[in-house]
Symmetry: C3
Subunit: 262 residues, 3 copies
Amino acid sequence: MSHLLEKVRQEKPLIHNMTNQVVMNFTANGLYAVGATPVMTHAKEEVEEMAKNASALLLNIGTLTTEQVEAMILAGKSANKAGVPVVLDPVGVGATTFRTTAAKQILQEVQIACIRGNAGEIANLADIDVQVRGVDSASDMDERQLASEAYKRLQVPLAITGATDIVINKEEQVMISGGHPLLTKVTGTGCLLSSVIAAFLTVTEDVTSAIVDALSYYSVAAENAATNQIYPGSFQVAFLDQLAAVDGEEMDKKKSRIRSFE
Amino acid sequence: MSHLLEKVRQEKPLIHNMTNQVVMNFTANGLYAVGATPVMTHAKEEVEEMAKNASALLLNIGTLTTEQVEAMILAGKSANKAGVPVVLDPVGVGATTFRTTAAKQILQEVQIACIRGNAGEIANLADIDVQVRGVDSASDMDERQLASEAYKRLQVPLAITGATDIVINKEEQVMISGGHPLLTKVTGTGCLLSSVIAAFLTVTEDVTSAIVDALSYYSVAAENAATNQIYPGSFQVAFLDQLAAVDGEEMDKKKSRIRSFE
Amino acid sequence: MSHLLEKVRQEKPLIHNMTNQVVMNFTANGLYAVGATPVMTHAKEEVEEMAKNASALLLNIGTLTTEQVEAMILAGKSANKAGVPVVLDPVGVGATTFRTTAAKQILQEVQIACIRGNAGEIANLADIDVQVRGVDSASDMDERQLASEAYKRLQVPLAITGATDIVINKEEQVMISGGHPLLTKVTGTGCLLSSVIAAFLTVTEDVTSAIVDALSYYSVAAENAATNQIYPGSFQVAFLDQLAAVDGEEMDKKKSRIRSFE
């Protein structure tokens, strides 16, 4: 089995999460289920030291303050200097001016290995003034066009997640189907996914593969979890179980079904 | 089906929660299960903008700091100006001077659409110096007398929750039975209920009905969840499931059983 | 039944937790399952008042800031003055300079009734420069030697938890086996255990027995929970259930199996 998931499980990378207060517990439990080791600290007094010793750093702006922006930039720069990959999750960009400004400032001062967000967040981050429609829509800008335009402007590998996920990096565009609508009924599933991408980035130099494998794995776990559950409380429990249960072998079998390349 | 629950599910109101760190995750998942859309931000830098664009604002003082009091007042005033209803959950009022003072200050500076708390919290908030006893008690002040006296002093619609819930607004007093003692064994069930009231307030002008419907719905979900569970871990999961499973039709059938009017 | 667990359930001690943001919800639900009453406040404005009125105080440095160190010391001193026992959980000591310094400062300024941590944390706190190995290891310092050396230096009752737990207090050393590896796959199980020790300390003057009983109870709950679960999401739910289900009678039957004395 050569799947990156198995490498994560062997190496148990330490993922430093500077994330919002709503999802801290779920993120930590999710990373344990994946096979990684979570750590959460946000104090300016220690984030530089923690970030440089971690395998990856996750910056999530869900519950942000001015002080946290500063701490994230300190941590990000420390990670950059040590060659530690940094993932940015621009939660709610566009909802307030403070949030949008903060995300752009982080992006300007820290070198980011991957941004994961939904179509609206990515559009706002890239200053694309458009009502984003579904990927199957006949509108003047579907999500694949958005991905291309956002990548052109941001020049950072993107994971744009939704009913269908899109990964874009340089010339490549990969679409990942699967997953399950119940993911949208459990808070923090997007946030955790960003942390999972961070974990996968620690085991390969191939950024596109890391992101695509992380998203594929997440989709399969969600599908499996939804097999016997229709309500969100039970689904959340089953999803954590499936993040632990799914292995590289299952991924290798299913990946041709859920991925399509341009 | 005319039940307000169904209107919440259709309109998916955005509920801005400024709540304590213990219950953020549970509150977000609970609001998703109800059919509303949670957002959590607490920074002074953005709460005014977020609150005025939300459908309702929830202020919960469970883990409070001086800075958070200021932010809550900013958000509350912004919500007031925009006509966005504000619910106050005065967690632990009476436990410390700081907490009591903060709750009263918020109440003075922000126009509140509903206060939800237990009998002790409401008594402390209204400066009623009494040992509150159960609603069936023969003491000199039972919970219904407390409700009347507290309403007279506070002049804000009240939801006083306990083994039996009491809603009081102007001349009206409604009692809601049902629910389940396991609710007291899961942290945040009171806090989430305040957010659910906020969600119901967004779909009607009739404040009393909004509160009564929210409490009735919550009672039914708890009863259903307790049918097959006797322990708190499983009950919490089942309760989130039931918040999603219960619908307007079930509510219409059960409401005559669980509500009684003065 | 004379088990301390039953006394906790009768007395429902109020445990004031100043703990990290990742585990607040799990800690509160766990304490309810045990039969105690959790309260969480961290603001300098109120922690002194809260701590002195609580039955026990828990200080956990998982997500620390300079301000939180100050607040913990204020609360700790207030608890000391009122005779309220204080438990310290030195999460991640050794990971950053800030964290190590903060833990030592708290230890210097506050009288601690018990420190609970894993072997690495305890070694770092006691300035023991050693790679700690498992308790069955043939290395030059196994966990029992570490316990003795750390106790000699710190002069505080210690609960060193791992595959086998060690409790050391003065001349006594007790080992507790049992438990389950799935505990390491759920975030906050160590943190909650520290709060459970705090709860047990409120019902007896015998510190060693309080710690040993708390650890034994936790081990049994974990074993029971793992009987039917192999994945972490379901295990977490089952573990909360078992914390509520295990009673003094079951503990009395099992304690001779899981405890061994030097």
